[in-house]
Structure formats: C-alpha cells, structure tokens
C-alpha cells in the first residue's frame, strides 16, 4: 500500500536549503519582535514576568509553546510509529499532569509569589535556607532539560540540514545557544513569550495539516489507520503489536515497574517544573492564570491527539524500518512522514518548526534559571535583600549568558556521549516531581509545615532522585549505559520516581513533626488569605 521513500540510510532527506530558509525566516521574525518587545523592558517585573500583562489566552499559547518540546513533537510521534501504543502512554501522562497545575497550583502561586518558585516556598519559612534549596533544585531541573534540548538540536541537523560530523553538530548547538541567549538578554520574559506564542501557533498548525492529510489518506477512519499501521509493522517483520501496550516496556517485571515509575514522574512532574510555574506570573490576575491553564490543556491535548494520528500515520505510510534506519531514528518519524506526504516543502516547514520548538523551550528554561539565581541566590542569600531591582536584573542577564554557555558545553558533551534525550527529559520531570511538588503542596495546604520539613523534602527528593540514577542501569552495568564497561548499578529501575516521590512526601512530613521550630501562624494566615482571595497579589505593570 504505502509507496515508501527510497533513501540511503546515511543521507538527508528533502532540500536542506529550503529547511534552512524556513528556519532562518522564523529566527528573523522572532528577533525583530524580540527587539521591539525590549523597548518596554524597564523594571524587574518586565524582565522576569513580562510586566504581568500577557492575557490568559496568549499565556495559554505560550505555555503550550514552552511545554511542547522537540521531545514531545518528534519523540512521541516517533515512539508511536515504532512502538505503537506505548508511545501514546507518554502523551497521556504529559497531559493529565496539567490537572495538578490547574486545580492545586496555578492560581494560588500567581497570588502569592513574585518571580520564582522560591518566592512561595520561602513565604512562611526562614528565607535563606529555603530559597537556596529551591534555587538549587530549580537550576538542576532547568539544566537537565536544557542539556536534553541542546543535544536534541544537534541530533536534528544531520537529518534536516544536511550537515554531518561532530564539529558540524557542535556548531549547531552553539548557534542555538547563542540565539537563545540573545532572545533572553534582549527580550526578557516578554520576548521569550512572543517567541513561544509564534512557535506554538506554527507547531499546532503544522501538526493539524499533517493530521488532516493522514486522515484523508485513510478516509477519516481511525480503525483503518490503526489496521494499516499494524499491517506495515507486520510486513516489516518487527514482530511488534503496535496496537497493544507492552511493546517498549512489557518485557520483564522490572521494565513494567519502570514504566509505572515513569508514569508517576510524568503526571506529578509538570506542576513542579520551574519554567512552567514562572509562566503563571506573566498574567495580571489569578483568574487569567486559570484561563491560561485552561487554554494550555486544550491546546496540548489536541496537539497530542494530532501526534497519535501522525505517529500511526508514520508507522503506516513510512514504515518502522525506514524510520529506525534513518539518521535520528525515532526522532525522524514526523519529518519522514512530512516528506512522504508533502515532499520537500512540507518537510521544510516541519523541520523549521522543529528548530523553532527547541529555541522557544530553551529560551524559557534559560530565563527561569537566571531569574532563580539572581532573585533567590544573589539578591536574597548573598546580598540579604540589599540590592536594587536593576542590580538584580543585571545579575540575571549575566547569569543567562553563563547558563547559556554551560548548557552549550554540556549539550555538546551529551551529544557526543550519545545520551538519550527522552531519558534526560524524564529525569527533569522526576526531579521536579520529587524535589518541588511535595514542598509546593505542603506549603500551600499544610498549616504545620516548617522550614526543616521543606529542606528535608527538597534536598531529600533531589538527592534520592539523582543518586538512584547514578546507581541505575542508565549510568553503568548495561550495554546501553553511559559507562558500559563498569558496573556499580544496584538500583534496577531507570526511573527513580516510584521511590523518590513518596520518600520526598514522607521526608517533608517527618522533618516537620521532628522540628523544634513552631510554624509561623501569622505568615500562614497571610499566605492562605492571599492565595485564595488575591489580596496583595503583584499587579500588572502599566506602560
């Protein structure tokens, strides 16, 4: 049925010139908009929170732009194309997770914090230790996520831009990093927001076109699409039932438990991702924060439904062997399908969108990490609050450059070490779910929670999560491990969430009941009244 593309395994597809031209156009347009946006960047609230006057609908789009990383776009479609059902499971975890943010976190955070996650975590605690802990965990999550995106960018070029070799890939990572630093330095949060809005619109429009195209091919019949995907998989001799669960994770009892562990981290991680939380501060009120999550849930959900069609469409029309043998393997499913459907032009558009995706996500991560360092570590811990807002923003800008440079370096290293990108993203979610979410929930809802409880929960979650990874088959004792020749792995799972998340909740409770410090009832009253009524919430900046 499917007339598959004939291409050599090591060649690129499409016309690199078109891919580069479309990507270049995106960069040009967003840079112009970023420079225009920079005219309004005067105060700290402008730089960190876009003056808090992004509308709920715009912010919903920006959240989708921030959240739908290349791992979501290329990774999920590819996982569905190759493993079928198990790829679909990822997207469900990523989506359901937003209900935690909607019901328990977004509005209350908007009402109580100013710029960072630490603002709310330290609200009724001893400031410096809690801010330090929250900043460390923010930086850890952002760095894992940044490295994943950066090395993803390097991996994409071989496929899309027709360049090969370590040096060329490294050059692309440097280019992406440099652009990201420019967006953040010049545009601040407002510029970053516009980049994310444009990218989300392009991404969703591109996915819609591909989805409709695939559906036309199968007569708008889901059953036919699924049947075709299965048939292509059978013909290719993969021996995989792409319609049933278990193709990727069902092999052994350990891999099954690993999947449950991953599922937990996905659903509990989102509401603890610092760059997601920071987006809630860019709207004028808590009601707008609610509206932005409502928009985000619909946009992200619809996008993942498109991914289901695109993934099975790639499986049916391109075929699993073509995908697995293409440069970029799993990640090449969506681009290969675009080429199959619409030739070089559609491929060029999808390739440009994939790069835009990476740029928008890394810019959001960089501004979050730099805000956390400048606002929490520099202004509160080092200078003890004795710093002007302008001084703080200056430090944030310098930090953005430093973090950009570090992530470029680590991204190139990760790329050359062949580190699995999906795994790095899963690790960022696991750290967010373990170190951040328990403390956020305790802070907002548990009257007795104390500084010691917060510290035990943040550090306990962070250390357990990263520690278990170090002693897992991801790092050693496995042919696919980072260090395949040594074996110091004693923790059997690749995803630590099932241990580290409950442990962090437990440590938060234990640290609290064992602490001598009495909870600050006045501060809790202030936090609770502000969180639910919105009194004293930071106002939008008027220009």
């Amino acid at each position: 049925m499917a007339d598959t593309v004939v291409l050599a395994a090591d060649s690129t597809i499409g016309e690199p010139a078109i891919n580069i031209a479309i990507f270049g156009a995106f960069v040009l347009v967003t840079l112009v908009i970023t420079f225009r946006a920079s005219r309004n960047n005067k105060t700290a609230a402008d730089y960190y929170a876009a003056g808090r006057n992004i509308s709920g609908q715009q912010n919903g789009l920006a959240i989708a732009g921030d959240y739908l990383s290349a791992a979501s776009f290329l990774g999920i479609a590819g996982a569905i194309a190759l493993y079928g059902y198990d790829g679909f499971l990822y997207s469900i975890g990523f989506l359901v997770a937003w209900l935690v943010a909607l019901l328990l976190v977004a509005e209350l955070l908007r009402n109580t914090a100013r710029f960072t996650m630490a603002d709310v975590l330290a609200f009724r605690m001893r400031q410096r230790p809690v801010r330090m802990a929250a900043a460390i965990s923010t930086l850890a999550v952002c760095l894992f996520y940044l490295v994943a995106q950066m090395s993803g960018a390097g991996g994409l070029v071989t496929l899309l831009l027709g360049v090969e070799g370590d040096a060329a890939q490294a050059l692309v990572v440097i280019l992406v990093g440099a652009l990201m630093i420019i967006y953040v330095l010049v545009g601040g949060m407002r510029g970053t927001t516009y980049v994310q809005i444009i990218k989300a619109s392009l991404l969703i429009a591109g996915a819609l076109v591909m989805t409709l195209w695939v559906l036309t091919e199968v007569g708008f019949n889901l059953s036919t699409l699924l049947g075709d995907a299965q048939q292509t998989s059978d013909t290719a001799g993969t021996g995989i039932n792409v319609l049933a669960p278990g193709a990727q994770y069902g092999a052994t009892a350990t891999s099954q438990l690993d999947f449950v562990s991953l599922g937990l981290a996905l659903v509990l991680g989102t509401a603890g991702l610092p760059h997601v939380l920071m987006r809630f501060y860019t709207v004028p009120t808590a009601k707008d924060a609610r509206r932005s999550v409502q928009w985000a849930i619909w946009l992200i959900g619809i996008f993942y439904l498109f991914s289901l069609v695109i993934g099975y469409g790639a499986g049916a029309l391109v075929g699993p062997n073509e995908i697995a043998n293409a440069p970029g393997a799993v990640n090449s499913a969506a681009p290969l399908l675009a080429f199959e459907l619409g030739g070089t032009v559609l491929l060029g558009i999808i390739a440009g969108v994939a790069f835009a995706t990476i740029l928008a996500v890394v810019a959001g991560l960089t501004i979050t990490a730099s805000a956390s360092f400048a606002h929490d570590v520099y202004a509160s811990v080092i200078k003890k609050g004795a710093v002007s807002p302008n001084g703080e923003v200056r430090v944030a800008r310098v930090t953005a450059v430093v973090i950009g440079a570090i992530s470029i370096g680590l991204g190139i290293l990760a790329l050359q070490a062949g580190l699995n990108i999906a795994f790095l993203v899963a690790l960022a979610f696991a750290v967010a779910a373990s170190a951040n979410l328990p403390t956020i929930l305790y802070t907002l809802f548990w009257k007795r929670f104390t500084t010691q409880g917060a510290l035990w929960s943040i550090y306990g979650g962070l250390i357990t999560c990263v520690g278990l990874i170090v002693f897992s088959p991801v790092v050693s004792g496995d042919p696919a491990a980072l260090f395949p020749d040594v074996d110091f792995a004693w923790f059997p799972l690749k995803n630590p969430g099932i241990v580290s998340i409950p442990l962090s909740f437990f440590l938060g409770w234990l640290g609290t009941v064992l602490s001598k410090e009495r909870p600050d009832v006045d501060k809790y009253a202030e936090l609770e009244v502000r969180a639910l009524t919105g009194i004293g919430a930071e106002k939008a900046v008027e220009h």
């Binding site: 499971l89 469900i92 019901l103 036919t224 278990g246 099954q256 409502q294 849930i297 959900g301 009253a525």
Partner: protein, 125 residues
C-alpha cells in the same frame, strides 16, 4: 479596580481576622471540596489506566470494533476526562469561589478586617 494610590499594608492581625472569618472558611471549604476529591479521582483513574496498560495488556488489546481496542479507547477516555474536569473546574470557580474571593479582596483593600470593624458575619453581596 482600585486606584493605584499609596495604600497602607495589611497587618498580620488583619490577615488573622480575615482567615478566621466565616466567609473565608466558606471560601476555603468550597475550593477544597472541589479540588481535593477531583485530584484524588483523576489521579486514581490515571493510575488505573497505567496499571492496566502495564499488567493487563491482554485486556487492553481486546478489539472493540475494527482495529480499535480497549487500550486505545481508554486512552482517548483520559483525554475526554481531562477536558471535562478542566471545564467543570472553571465553571465551579466562576460560580462558587470567585464571588466570595472578589468580595473579600475588596473588603481587605478597605481594611475592613482591622480589629473591631466587623470581622464576623458582614453581609455578603
């Protein structure tokens, strides 16, 4: 809403009075009555789905019509419930918590919870 004039900060006393007021107790009750059970419900439903996908793959591979099986349908049902809970929450907040929150915020801005100025049971809109 309020003019951006220089205003007196709220005192800890006022926050305590506001927190102890019956209208705040009602606001908190309405917020939690929806958010907490709904969180338990969607989390349990998601967990059930993940566990079924992991440990009951034969059941999930059962064909319902054509090539569409139980697993795909339950997965799509996760999307439907997520959209549904989102809309239900937005409606609940608009109808049941926003009016109290708006009114309390207004009264707090006018320092009506300062000691002795009718902290308890002031009439509501």
């Amino acid at each position: 809403m309020t003019p951006p004039t220089e205003r007196r900060m709220l005192t800890p006393e006022e926050y305590r009075q506001a927190q102890d007021s019956p209208e705040f107790t009602e606001l908190r009750r309405r917020f939690r009555r929806f958010a907490f059970p709904m969180t338990v419900a969607f989390f349990a439903w998601y967990l059930l789905y993940v566990l079924l996908s992991t440990y009951a793959d034969d059941f999930m591979a059962e064909k319902v019509f054509g090539d569409v099986n139980v697993g795909i349908l339950l997965g799509l049902a996760q999307f439907v419930t997520t959209f549904l809970i989102t809309q239900l929450y937005v409606r609940h907040a608009g109808r049941n918590t926003d009016p109290i929150a708006d009114e309390m915020r207004d009264r707090l801005e006018h320092h009506e919870y300062a000691r002795g100025t009718g902290a308890e049971g002031a009439p509501r809109g």
